[in-house]
Symmetry: C2
Amino acid sequence: MNNNYALIMAGGVGTRLWPVSRQHLPKQFQDLLGLGSSLLQLTFQRLSEVCPKKNIYIISNLDYEDLIQEQLPEIKKDQILSEPELRNTAPCIAYAVHKISRQNPDANLIVAPADHLILNQPEFNRLVHIGFEAVSKRDILLTFGISPTRPDTGFGYIEYNKSSEENDIFKVEAFKEKPDLATAESFIKAGNFLWNAGIFVWNIKTIMKSMATHLPEVNMLFEQGKDFYYSEKEKKFIEKAYHDCPNISVDYGIMEKAENVYVIPADFKWSDLGTWKSVYTHQDKDEQGNSTQGQVLCYDTSNSLIKVLPDMLAVVQGLDNYIVIEHNKVLMICNKDQEQMVKNFLNDAKARGFTDYI
Amino acid sequence: MNNNYALIMAGGVGTRLWPVSRQHLPKQFQDLLGLGSSLLQLTFQRLSEVCPKKNIYIISNLDYEDLIQEQLPEIKKDQILSEPELRNTAPCIAYAVHKISRQNPDANLIVAPADHLILNQPEFNRLVHIGFEAVSKRDILLTFGISPTRPDTGFGYIEYNKSSEENDIFKVEAFKEKPDLATAESFIKAGNFLWNAGIFVWNIKTIMKSMATHLPEVNMLFEQGKDFYYSEKEKKFIEKAYHDCPNISVDYGIMEKAENVYVIPADFKWSDLGTWKSVYTHQDKDEQGNSTQGQVLCYDTSNSLIKVLPDMLAVVQGLDNYIVIEHNKVLMICNKDQEQMVKNFLNDAKARGFTDYI
């Protein structure tokens, strides 16, 4: 019996990638890069190289249940964990861990977001195997930390003890909130800081023990469901559990408090595809630095991301460093260095009553 | 019996206003300014103030016959003159003049393009009445010349004799081709040059006489139809006449050659709405100088024309002096000072096989 399991977290809304990412179809369900597969499908494919497909679970909002089944027809209904309410990551982890432990109390579990890009699959496989091996033998909570390539202020950081290395694994000193630029620069200079990508590797016994210690209330709630998982009663039980569960993240609730937290520095060409700029970074570009999707004609245009639906024709003249997106009745034009404005666009659109467009 | 007639020329394609103006629906059939009426409807309304609606004729390509009937349900089928082939203005005028003369050999006729904007209707009415009065009494060919407001190189000019004035009417010295900028500036400085707007006022006997003199071949062709106009045989006759008719403009064929050509300088707030810049000029603008149509949110954007279909939402950030048009599956973004590029866009789109979008 294979003890390796995966949990794909597919509950995000991806507002920064509006207007492509929309409430009814968030970015993880879309072919954001034009590769022919959605990000969820790519993530499933990636994880299927490190554990059996039947051991890959997807957790997301109830609204997306049909969508997940449609995009991943090879999985069973039991592998889809539907959250009845929008909560943070702690209840989501608690649900998955308690459920999976009913099937395999010795499971090793990798937890990963559905909407990230990882280009170096062999390196990913190698590090996950190191992780699975470690957590199956040692009573530690592992996380992957991405080797930073720039002083990005959009990520949390993981500080680790450089001299604690043992088989590619280091002791975590502290988790750091998203820093300001000066702090981020000092992190890069220090050399022992990694980006927190929200990718964890745990043995299910270890994480359950930590949960019992640091989040006893949450742990208790989901432990009470042990007789209902994999049964018809699961759905109803989860509805109540979520209703009673506090809104708390696994980072804050467990990882930042536990003593036995370790990190594997990872350099497997990772992007969270969190913003249009990061999407642009991972696209093929022409000689003028333009990345286009759809039928696009460019004139005097450079360093821009231009993306329209396949049945559109876009003609763009005289833009440098812009994002131009046309998607399902929304057109967005924005300077690439002003992409944080997307949140304002969404808020204003909501306030103006353009609810069909968000 | 009212002798005043109008001929609306509605056969243009308006390529410079792509992507709104399209082969299957040129700009004259569209509500380009968001006023609730197409340009053709506005022109019909305007001319109905100077002659009875039953005396207003529309000439256009056969392809647009149904569209005209739909947009102007109050006119009879006989008032729509359908051209079987794309010819220049001389055959179009010859057809209309010979047809109308069968109904009223004393008709006074104003000829006007379907796609122009005239804001000062009372002044237009006043000048047209002066024109009708003059051509019904004197054996002259009248044209309206627009008092120029800038040294525009996109129009032909009419040079007139300043000291020849008689009841607001001046003798034309010469028609001038579209000039270069220096020449246009010298025209403005000289003070006796007007824009040729292609608006004519003639008595039908006078224009027929001129046609017989200067375009005898064309004149003969359409005279042969005198027994067929207003009958079932008209369509078939016209098909043959157009096939045999040379491709020639009324300006070149008659107006530039005739001796008895006069002009009324007109200042009735005219625009040919020939380019996006001229459309922008005639639109309401917000404090930032933006003219928007549709659901548009602007951020750090100024002096721009932004037009999307009513079911779209556009969010535009960081543009100054741009044209942004989304219309029927085409998105065009272009610096306002580079709008002559629209012809290149169209040619390239055609060359690339994007024929559905032109």
